[in-house]
């Protein structure tokens, strides 16, 4: 399929990849052994991570090594410290972590152990999306296996290092994937995001220093420790190093989760990896990184898929979940479906988000049904401007405002056409992506 070197998904192809036996046969826990038996100091591990340039795979793309270094100095702060692994993968279009949880749970556990060692965390919590039943069971079974093998718990591999790993099942709220909402939920409260500051590294789970990392981010850690920062930097671009898991969905011939280096053009991903737009149709638009990132028109298809390039094109890399839409797609309908999602998932704390997501959804729905006015189109922009950026506690409001802005910017004509005709100009042919899915 592609000539690019891969590492993350290699093991996932092996039969019974989720078992400790197969994992060990394929080099599993060697990175942990290297850390504990060499031994590398926690600072050494963080230095390697910083050197590798690994950026968080949860959507924001924040440098992982830097994030770990925000944990307070143990000499000055003796509170217990935690790692929380965000496996509440719920962004529409995003489906990469599911593969890792299901097929390579020991890779996650090894990454967690190294991360906890580096941050001197005594325990890790894996917050798994509630709908991910098989992935949850696979990770739970893997933790049991690892614990029985002396890899999790007291004195890991016979060393002084001890680390517990606990699991938590989400109950279906998208907002619990926001890092502070996740922590509230882990504490047994409603998943209402917390205002920042204070940041999790200073005041996280139960008020103690905490780092929240995405599954894919953690999964990268053992590879970087084993093979070195230089190897990692040899893949991807200068500022977006390594490979990422690209979840491709929508109107393509071969949707799926692919491991790709950063920097490939969206066009080559669409055409060479995903087999092109389905049914021989033309591309109309695509989300580069999940529904929270601005939708881009077909004209932007040559953008390189790395954090900076996608940003330069007026969108965001997000989680690398690309959603392609063919020429029959009604973008108004896409916006309606997207905003319906955000209205449904807004936690309701902040006025702008609670009311704004509902309002935007209502307007898109009216326009799609032919009941819109020309004023509505401008109002979409002004309302979205009132919701973001940075006007609310968390970024869910932004996540609703960004696609709204992009739809108005790139598909204003189509919105106005709906208003003028009093109906959807594509009625009958429209194929909503992800509607009701």
């Amino acid at each position: 399929m592609s000539a690019h070197p891969t590492y993350m998904l290699d093991r996932c192809e092996v039969a019974d990849s989720h078992t400790l036996k197969v994992y060990r046969e394929n080099g599993g826990y060697e990175a942990l052994e290297k850390v504990l038996k060499t031994p590398l100091s926690p600072e050494d591990v963080i230095a390697v991570l910083k050197d590798s340039g690994l950026r968080g795979r949860g959507g924001a793309g924040f440098p992982t090594g830097l994030k770990w270094s925000f944990m307070p100095d143990v000499a000055k702060d003796d509170r217990p410290r935690y790692l929380a692994v965000n496996a509440d993968e719920s962004e529409p279009g995003t489906c990469k972590d599911r593969v890792l949880l299901r097929e390579d749970p020991h890779g996650l556990i090894e990454g967690i152990l190294i991360a906890c060692y580096a941050m001197r965390a005594e325990a890790a919590y894996v917050y798994v999306r509630g709908e991910y039943r098989l992935p949850y069971e696979r990770v739970a079974a893997a933790i049991d296996e690892a614990r029985a093998a002396g890899l999790v718990g007291e004195n890991v591999m016979g060393t002084d290092f001890s680390c517990q790993i606990w699991m938590h099942k989400g109950a279906g709220a998208y907002i619990c994937g926001e890092e502070t909402g996740l922590m509230e939920s882990l504490e047994g409260k409603r998943g209402h995001p917390r205002p920042k500051p204070p940041f999790p590294a200073g005041y996280g789970l139960w008020g103690n220093p905490t780092t929240v990392n995405n599954v894919e981010t953690i999964q990268n850690v053992p590879f970087i420790v084993s093979r070195g920062a230089e190897w990692f930097r040899s893949m991807g671009t200068e500022k977006s190093t390594g490979n990422f898991l690209c979840g491709i969905s929508g109107h393509v011939e071969r949707p799926g989760v692919y491991e790709l280096p950063f920097g490939l053009s969206a066009r080559s991903i669409l055409e060479e990896v995903a087999g092109g737009v389905w049914k021989g149709r033309e591309l109309k638009a695509f989300f580069p990184g999940g529904s929270s990132t601005g939708v881009l028109p077909a004209g932007s298809i040559d953008v390189a898929m790395d954090h900076d390039s996608v940003k330069g094109a007026g969108s965001m890399f997000g989680t690398g979940a690309m959603i392609f839409m063919d020429e029959t797609t009604c973008v108004t309908r896409i916006a309606e479906v997207t905003l319906r999602f955000y209205e449904h998932e807004s936690c309701g704390q902040c006025s702008q988000c609670r009311e704004g997501t509902q309002w935007l959804h209502q307007i898109f729905r009216r326009i799609e049904r032919g009941q819109g006015t020309m004023d509505d189109v401008d109002m979409l922009s002004t309302l979205a401007s009132g919701m973001a950026p940075g006007k609310t506690i968390c970024a869910l409001s932004d996540a609703a405002a960004i696609p709204t802005h992009s739809v108005v910017k790139h598909f204003r004509d189509e919105l106005e056409e709906h208003v003028r005709l009093g109906r959807c100009p594509l009625a009958g042919t429209s194929q909503p992506v992800g509607a009701g899915a």
């Binding site: 205002p195 309701g348 609670r354 009311e355 704004g356 997501t357 009132g386 006007k391 506690i393």
Partner: protein, 484 residues
């Protein structure tokens, strides 16, 4: 203290408090809904946006209730960007808020209404139907909830968690479907529910007792002190035209009650709106008690006292102010009696929030003046041995016990100064006194804090302050001595 600049003026700010406190303390007008100085800040309503500049960073618009005060920060609450962000936020808040101000009890003291008047656009842009929810959901005996008016500031849920520490309210469901509910729809319990109506920034939580009773702009508000226990919470007495007390509401007093009061105090309106009053003066005549001129009554009194002062009992009500008590103390000295006050036993309302369980609001003050605390039984026992008794102060007869007093031998010379009518065989002279909402004076609370009562309602015609009446008696007695 931290030095910051607010609207061009350098001020001292308390670093332990969020920026919004410094703004309010120094006269800057920053709106707030979710923030309440007595509750933990959550920063969710997003209305308190102000522009802040720190160090070399460009100015940012931030929510003042979640922004810590930092030395040297420059705050502009009137920056155009801050106003703009607040206006945007207001528009979202008004999107689903019903336009029922004309029938809303909160109108006139509604934070949302006030700010919409100050900054709103006049005309809503929303063409969408407003949220349809429960308009009158009973939350128990005290509070009724209008879910449509609710702006989900969560002050109420935080209040229940943080002040009486009885979490009974919660936000349920998500996003635009969020509503305030009690757990399992159970009625609210506890003695602090009334505060919910005060802290609700809109008309979502209102008092059943006050429902459709008055428009708040017609209420005259007088700062005073609650009479229901020895905490002496700072309150406002709110009266409608004609002098009817419609509400007691807490007033912030960080030394005493912070921002709250209990429902026992809040709903003690019957004690302020008495159905029948003791006239200025009544004397026992041929056909029982007859209304008389105060001067005549005082004359009779002086004659009576002259003959019986040898074994006199002087008793005040625990509601007596320091000023009233001082006058009564002088009278007691003149009569050679040891001053005492009726001290009812503690009630079972004591809690660890505000209520002390001691129904005597001025116990500490009276004790400090040297008044002896007497139970009703002890008081009656003393009356049994006395020839003359002066009982002075609001509710003194009730607290000694009207039945016990009726059983006292008729030959006792009994003088009563109370607010409500009394008729017992021993009674010779009765003089009307003002209630606690009809007088000014001082009480000393359980912790020794002195607080003022203010006259909120004029006493009935002719009824003078108790200390004046007592001084008159004293003057008449002393004049009689000189003559004698």
């Amino acid at each position: 203290m931290t030095k910051i600049t607010i609207n061009g003026r350098e001020v001292d700010a308390d670093p332990a408090q969020p920026l919004i406190r410094a703004c309010h303390d120094h006269g800057a007008d920053v709106p707030m809904y979710c923030y309440h100085p007595g509750l933990s800040p959550v920063g969710s309503c997003r209305i308190c946006q102000v522009e802040v500049q720190q160090g070399d960073m460009p100015p940012r618009v931030v929510v003042a209730c979640r922004t810590p005060v930092v030395e040297g920060m420059v705050v502009d609450t009137e920056a155009e960007r801050a106003h703009e962000t607040r206006r945007e936020c207001l528009e979202f808040l008004l999107k689903n808020h019903p336009l029922d101000c004309p029938i809303c009890d909160k109108a006139g003291e509604c934070d949302l209404q006030d700010y919409a008047f100050a900054e709103g656009q006049g005309k809503g842009r929303s063409a969408e139907p407003r949220r349809k929810l429960e308009k009158r959901k009973s939350l128990g005996d005290v509070i009724v909830l209008d879910q449509e008016r609710c702006i989900l500031c969560s002050r109420c849920t935080r209040f229940m968690e943080e002040v009486p520490r009885t979490p009974q309210l919660t936000v349920s469901d998500l996003g635009s479907r969020s509503v305030i509910e009690t757990f399992m729809d159970r009625p609210l319990t506890g003695n602090y529910q009334g505060n919910l109506a005060d802290i609700c920034p809109v008309g979502a939580l209102t008092l059943k007792e006050f429902r459709f009773q008055a428009r708040v702009w017609n209420l005259r508000k007088t700062p005073s002190t609650c009479a229901e226990c020895s905490r002496g919470c700072a309150i406002t007495v709110e009266t409608l035209r004609g002098g009817e007390v419609k509400r007691f509401r807490p007033r912030p007093d960080l030394e005493v009650n912070q921002y709250w009061m209990c429902d026992t105090g809040r709903f003690a309106l019957d004690r302020a709106n008495l159905p029948a009053r003791l006239p200025a003066a009544t004397l026992r005549g041929q056909s029982g008690l007859e209304e008389a001129d105060v001067e005549d009554a005082v004359d009779v009194l002086a004659d009576m006292v002259g003959a019986h002062r040898a074994s006199a009992v002087v008793l005040v009500s625990p509601f007596a102010t320091q000023e009233e008590a001082a006058a009564v103390q002088r009278l007691a000295a003149e009569l050679g009696a040891a001053p005492a006050f009726v001290s009812p036993p503690p009630n079972d309302l004591k809690d660890d929030v505000l209520h002390t369980g001691d129904p005597c609001p001025n116990r500490r003050g009276l004790t400090g003046l040297g008044f002896e605390a007497l139970t009703a039984e002890d008081a009656l026992a003393r009356l049994a041995d006395a020839e003359l008794a002066v009982l002075a102060g609001e509710r003194v007869v009730e607290l000694v016990g009207a039945e016990g007093l009726a059983a006292v031998r008729a030959s006792l010379r009994l003088v009563v100064l109370d607010a409500v009518p009394v008729d017992v065989p021993a009674l010779d002279v009765a003089l009307g006194v003002p209630t606690h909402v009809e007088k000014s004076g001082t009480w000393v609370n359980v912790d020794g804090v002195r607080r003022r009562l203010s006259l909120a309602v004029p006493p009935p015609v002719g009824v003078a302050p108790l200390e004046q009446t007592v001084e008159r008696m004293l003057a008449r007695l002393q004049a009689a001595e000189v003559r004698g």
